[in-house]
Subunit: 440 residues, 3 copies
């Protein structure tokens, strides 16, 4: 339970809000490289991050520019602008800006005017790495390094990234992502899977350990970058099934695999605020070696963490529309009660849509005065502590939030394994937890 | 005309508002029994009453549960819940609640936890009688008895009940229901009907008395349950045509028949607030004996007070959509000016849609500072007095509102008849007004 | 740049606002005569002006009535009313009002009632002239004369008038209309047109002078009715190309032709506030002699300043829908990037939709604290000065705004021509600027 003041502090992310200022210190995943495929290309991309409307483009040199949407002259949208010769040219009066927001040309003003030098468009720094475009909306002279998240260290050949728009606050969506006790319920079958199934699982459906013990014990351990959320389930008389979920400031999560076979791919999410009532949920699966065409198709077609293209709403040209699920509140998220009765706990199709539906169903901004947390919410409680503490420390003392200056601390694997009951998990797993093989 | 303060007092019905608190003392018609046809059935029903979002279900024993929509754990919607073994089980973490809101199971928490006993979901008491599900949202230890409204005393075989969503405040909708001077206008034909037509009228279209005297004289008489709204029209040199409409606290109305034949069915409405800007208009017709299949089909197919299913908007799965008329503001309520010119006063099809359109056309919450009431609005004035007086008396002195403890006072018939001018209507009609034959 | 206080003052037009009060002193273009084609005709026209909801009708004598939408009795919409015998009769209770708002009949009240004489519906004075219906929403005992705008002095045979709804504040739309430096950009081709093209141009596409000198010099000269906005472009070593745009209080603009041939038609706009976030943009082209059928069809089919009927959204029955462009924010205003790359500066089809899109893209009410005006915005700056000064003078001292008592001062032509550099434009053009031939 949070007080109203804490809930506001947690969920408001616009310019000038304490949480918004904290988030602006970190790099934000913003676009797929494939959304801006070529230099001087079209369409431009509308982008909304932390309550600010932006336009993204790839300039003649292939560099990514992210500018405020509205031209500083008289406010025309730069979404319509011409992408030409290393800059965006507003179609209203031809003012032209480069990726840094410098005004390169002002053709409707006298050519000897000194006015041009005084005009600067809002612009944000960007980095592009392995298929992801990152944006830094903070004001530091030198932004921090990109975090060494493994999914972004391997080239695009090694994994698949997708995104979807959720119509709810980023924090309540992320809380669903680190709350692993929901898995055998929200994502569960009515029949316990066999061990053979577990061995071949190519999804995040719960395995037989989840069904055998639905009351995981949690151990939370704060780290430089966020925290380990270790959950322990009984696995026979002498063993525990351990899952180590990872929360990485400010909005990254890592999911251990559920298969008992050799892990083919790892999983991650980033929960990026669009504004107070909307977020983009990024989903990643990757491997330490290139994926085969078959493996890549498998991910692309709506398996593991991903929505297939056909499961999103393609009919609108707005970016929000394009990435919004076709299953939504209007159609009860495609729930099928016959499936709920006979096969799956929920009846909502697709692993990702189950999470999506339940997170949106709390309302756009859940009022945490009404909640009743239990022992299984230990990870949620820890993440909130870190968020609120970090936002207040930055606001009150200028203290930099966690992980910012330790990008290499993000080199973490989410591990799941069986250990003897006597063995401490951190001791046993510490070598596996640390990502060693990745480039960079 | 009301002051702004009075208008606010009248129209606001959420938790903590004086009118909302008064309405919470009464039983509210909420759902048709047929909307929850079977034990452990699907779909669950979203329900919104007095500004609160709820979920209704029929449990394994056939009992109706009405719970707050959001799970007390972390706010997931119970609309998606599993309806199983005498309770709703949230699909997020498996918490289970019975119809009283008790937490029966918390499978993701330690089994020895005392936490479960501390968790109580918002739940409201229900009664089911002759096809109608009632909800009591008040806090009294012992709710009052259901009101003895005749339409709910006979079994489903004796009548037909339908509903529709109106996008306006409940009070302005109800005011249209007790304002009988509008009938020969809003519902009138351009040609006065013949007496033969009147004798066979199977509708609420105005009869020839309305056309002969469009200026009814009103006599309002307060009762235990609300008031008689008696209207008198000249009917030849020696007689009056009397119609006794009934207003029954807090939102029930009864309509006298307009046919001059032996009355085949009686009519009633209940105007139940969904929230400040939306209400459900319930429409009832019933008889003191079972209806034939033909009579039932007649009501079902859009006659008397009812919208036929095809006249509602069936394309959305949301309950609001399902019960919203296909004729609406977007399409000018299907008005046909050629019909207005040549046949009917209005040109909007369907008796019920005429009322619906005109009540919505005042805006979501009509600002009564702008109105100019006349002598024909005596019933409206009286109802407002009772509402405002009762809400203030409850707020200021804890006084119970009218009718609450006199359920049998609701046993009233709406009567229309011709009497000699010399005969006082109440004296002449008092035996017919009182419902004697109904069960219970 | 405006302060927040000035921006509010400029953009708020509801009853009681200073700008709203100033606008109410002027006659407002409201409807085409053809929208109310016949006495006692249907449909009635919903009309929203300066934040007030109205209904317009043509009575039995052909006179135009404009009444408040909501019946003074209990607020029913008069949009559904019967248009009969010199008045609108509300379909709720039959109250009837004439075009002056007098209550002519109150059939549900006692016939000897004195109540009728006390009831007055909101009504506004109207004038109809050459196909345009004007409304006066001020309170002066005697409204001013209609302004002698040339487009409204000639009969309908001499011109064509169209309208479209814009989802933005009236002032930011008008500012786009007097800002002529945008023309070679927003409306430009990538190839400079030949002089032969210029000579035959039947549109407002920029001519070769615009391309030869994109940095016009502005001279603004205040007049009785508003201001001349004179822009000067180099035209060879000895000449200037002069364009004299006209701003006429409170929301009229005149556009010089861009053709170098003998001008076939003149152009004008009126930017009329619907409410703070919506305006109607009226577009006019006219000639001093009757148009041929071919010329009329040309204008009607989407040329010069006009949207063709098929380019508006015809599917809704609401007036707003009918006049709203089919190209809108949802479909990125039909921008075609291939066209932007290869042919036109913008890629948005239609001259008018280019203006429309760019004006809406600033948001419903542009926050002028964010703008950076240049030398090319001299006309915009002058118009704002006149608006703000006039609204304040009326509010603080009751001073009548400009042009109100000089209707004949509106007899102005928008001129474009080439003059020797040594010749002062006003001296050279003053005879051509003044409209002499028009009737009245």
């Amino acid at each position: 339970m949070l007080s109203q003041e804490e809930n506001e502090l947690l969920t408001r992310v616009g310019p000038g809000t304490p949480m918004g200022e904290m988030l602006r210190r970190y790099w934000l995943p913003a676009l797929l490289s494939s959304e801006l495929p070529e230099p001087d290309g079209y369409p431009l991309r509308r982008l909304r991050l932390l309550g600010e409307s932006l336009v993204a483009f790839r300039d003649s040199n292939g560099r990514i520019g992210v500018l405020g949407e509205h031209c500083p002259h008289r406010g025309a949208s730069l979404f319509f602008a011409r992408n030409e010769e290393c800059g965006l040219r507003c179609v209203y009066h031809g003012w032209k800006f480069d990726a840094e927001g410098n005004c390169l040309d002002m053709p409707n003003e006298p050519s000897d005017s000194a006015y041009r030098a005084k005009i600067k468009q809002v612009s944000y720094r960007t980095r592009e790495r392995n298929g992801m475009i990152w944006v830094y909306m903070g004001s530091a002279a030198e932004p921090p390094a990109l975090p060494d998240l493994e999914w972004n260290l391997y080239p695009e050949s090694h994994g698949y990234i997708s995104k979807r728009i959720q119509k709810c606050n980023w924090a309540q969506a992320l809380e669903g992502g680190i709350d692993s006790s929901h898995v055998p319920f929200l994502h569960g079958k009515l029949e316990t899977p066999s061990t053979a199934e577990d061995l071949n699982a190519k999804s995040y459906l719960p395995n037989s350990f989840y069904y055998a013990d639905r009351t995981p014990q949690f151990e939370i351990l704060e780290t430089e970058y966020g925290c380990h959320i270790a959950s322990r389930r009984n696995a026979g008389p002498d063993d525990y099934y351990w899952r180590i979920n990872e929360f990485l400031m400010p909005f990254h999560t890592l999911l251990p695999p559920t298969t008992l076979a050799e892990t083919p791919t790892w999983g991650a999410h980033a929960w990026v605020p669009v504004d107070d009532e909307t977020c983009v949920t990024w989903s990643m699966n990757w491997s330490t070696k290139p994926l085969s065409a078959e493996e890549m198709d498998f991910l692309r077609n709506g398996n593991m963490l991903h929505a297939a293209e056909k499961e999103l709403a393609p009919e609108t040209s707005a970016p929000e529309g394009k990435w919004s699920p076709a299953g939504n509140l209007e159609n009860d998220y495609l729930i099928d009660y016959e499936v709920q009765r006979t096969k799956f706990f929920t009846g909502i199709p697709h692993l990702w849509l189950q999470d999506h539906a339940i997170q949106e169903s709390m309302g756009p901004i859940y009022d945490r005065r009404n909640e009743h947390l239990g022992a299984s919410d230990a990870g949620v409680i820890k993440a909130r502590q870190m968020w609120l503490r970090s936002a207040r420390a930055l606001r009150d003392h200028g203290t930099l939030p966690p992980g910012l200056l330790q990008p290499q601390s993000y080199r973490i694997h989410p591990i799941a394994t069986v250990l003897p009951r006597s063995e401490p998990w951190l001791e046993a797993l510490k070598d596996q937890l640390f990502v060693t093989g990745a480039p960079l």
